[in-house]
């Protein structure tokens, strides 16, 4: 039994609750116990770092302070925006004693910046690829996935120090362990348009559209993501993208935990895959899809 702190973030407690269901079901099946941080607050996301620098350190730092106060050394944040902001705050605080003192006053908690913050891929690595391989009940031989990392799993690399920022491959390693194959493609670290979904839809149509096109052109029958925002832009917006770009497509976008969960024998309902926008029956060989 692995026990780990858990920072779900706003998206997973909002419309990306399918990701939360998937993560929870998958972790339970792997014997990972998630202890949610007490009264966590929003990390501030892009809004804070683009409008108020101090706030972009203070909001994540409050959560780091909560973890430290409650003796939680390691926190799993399934949203890469959250994990990046938490790690960035950790780095800023450990690098500057004066900032550390100032932040402690602002957030009303001492924050040493010692909490280890990890993403979904790292949780699977903590469990161990061999343990996952041994637990597979239904190898996913029919999956031919384009692994999509997006921006904030690997960038900025000097802050995150995770995988290779240009050619990441850790997600492919996990898929290999569950019997799925992956494709080589060009857009695995390109941006999907991120938080522009509401404010400037044409950004999403363009950027997420190119990602879907490139994945399909390289023979992928699905995309795999580990980010709630990427999933919104690639799954929920897929019908709008298809309409605007004059292409009809139905590329299923899985969360990484969906595929691991399916391989462990969980049902699509337990993983909330049936609540995605583009849904494809995994067990039906020739794919029919609905965008």
């Amino acid at each position: 039994m692995i026990e780990i702190g858990y920072y779900p973030g706003c998206a997973l407690h909002g419309s990306s609750n399918d990701y939360e269901a998937s993560v929870q079901a998958c972790m339970k099946a792997l014997g990972v116990r998630l202890n949610e941080l007490d009264d966590w607050i929003c990390c501030g996301a892009t809004a804070a770092h683009s409008m108020n620098h101090m706030l972009s350190v203070a909001l994540p730092a409050r959560n780091l302070g909560i973890a430290e106060r409650d003796g939680i050394d390691e926190v799993f944040a399934p949203c890469p925006m959250c994990s990046m902001e938490l790690i960035k705050a950790n780095r800023a605080i450990t690098a500057s004693p004066s900032l550390r003192a100032q932040i402690a006053e602002i957030v009303e908690l001492p924050v040493e910046g010692k909490t280890e913050v990890i993403n979904l891929i790292q949780v699977f690595e903590r469990v161990g690829l061999e343990a996952i391989r041994a637990a597979v009940k239904k190898p996913l031989g029919h999956i031919q996935a384009a692994c999509y990392y997006g921006c904030l799993l690997t960038r900025p690399p000097k802050v995150l120090e995770f995988d290779d920022a240009e050619q990441p491959s850790l997600m492919e390693g996990i898929l290999e362990a569950i019997g799925a194959s992956t494709v080589e493609w060009n857009y695995k670290t390109e941006c999907c348009g991120a938080g522009m979904t509401m404010a400037r839809e044409e950004t999403i149509i363009d950027l997420a559209g190119k990602i879907l096109d490139n994945a399909a052109a390289h023979g992928a029958n699905c995309l795999v993501a580990a980010c709630p925002m990427c999933h919104v832009n690639l799954d929920m917006k897929q019908a709008d993208i298809a309409r605007a770009r004059g292409a009809s497509r139905g590329l299923t976008v899985y969360y990484l935990s969906d595929l691991v969960g399916l391989a462990l024998g969980l049902s699509p309902e337990e993983l909330a895959i049936n609540r995605h926008f583009v849904v494809r029956d995994l067990d039906a060989a020739p794919a029919t899809s609905e965008a």
Binding site: S16, M51, L152, E166, E201, R275, F277
Partner: protein, 195 residues
């Protein structure tokens, strides 16, 4: 208009002076094609102290903060940090490009929502954004956009009318108040607010 050289404090620690105009930031930028002033030009303007021109650009609010420029810069310039500082400046001075007001309004609605609830309430955020967007440019399509999304979200159990709130919302407000630029400037800080 004397142009001051780049040692403006708001760029402290960002290695702005290191930029030698190789253009790698612009080459990898997913938004460069839509920008009026591309990333390497933004950094040159900042080096030359032409901050108003940089802060009035559409480019800084078109930036999606994907960090590709920061990741690839051979001189380790904190490219996104510089753009963030320019965005803050454009807010302070009222220089946000008129074409990009909606992006600013969305980000503002996002922060206001955190301040109020401690966590994002998506329904409130969208209502607030649409209202402020409508008051800004009277766009009816903006108000109506995605109206058909609500039932689809409901059908999937993804629509939460009553979003979550943290228990201790007072601490969230205190954090916001202490991070206001004036409050920050009065303390000993890493990144002083500059007039």
């Amino acid at each position: 208009m004397a142009s001051q050289h780049a040692t403006d404090d708001r760029f402290a620690g960002m290695s702005l002076d290191e930029c030698y105009q190789c253009g790698k930031c612009t080459a990898g930028c997913p938004m460069a094609a839509a920008m009026d002033v591309v990333p390497n030009q933004i950094f040159r303007l900042a080096q030359l102290g032409k901050l108003e021109r940089a802060a009035r650009s559409q480019a800084i609010w078109l930036c999606v903060s994907c960090f590709t420029c920061t990741a690839r810069c051979p001189k380790s310039v904190d490219c996104v940090g510089i753009i963030d500082a320019l965005r803050e400046m454009s807010l302070e001075k009222g220089w946000v490009a008129p074409e990009l007001q909606r992006v600013r309004l969305f980000q503002q609605a996002f922060l206001d929502n955190i301040r109020k609830n401690g966590r994002i309430n998506e329904v409130e955020l969208i209502q607030r954004f649409k209202l402020s967007g409508f008051l800004n440019d009277f766009s009816v399509p903006l108000l109506m956009k995605d109206a058909m999304l609500a039932p689809k979200l409901m059908q999937r159990g993804k629509f939460h009318v009553f979003g979550e709130k943290v228990k201790d919302r007072d601490i969230v407000r205190r954090i916001f108040d202490r991070c206001q630029p004036q409050a920050v400037a009065s303390g000993a800080t890493e990144k002083e607010a500059v007039s």
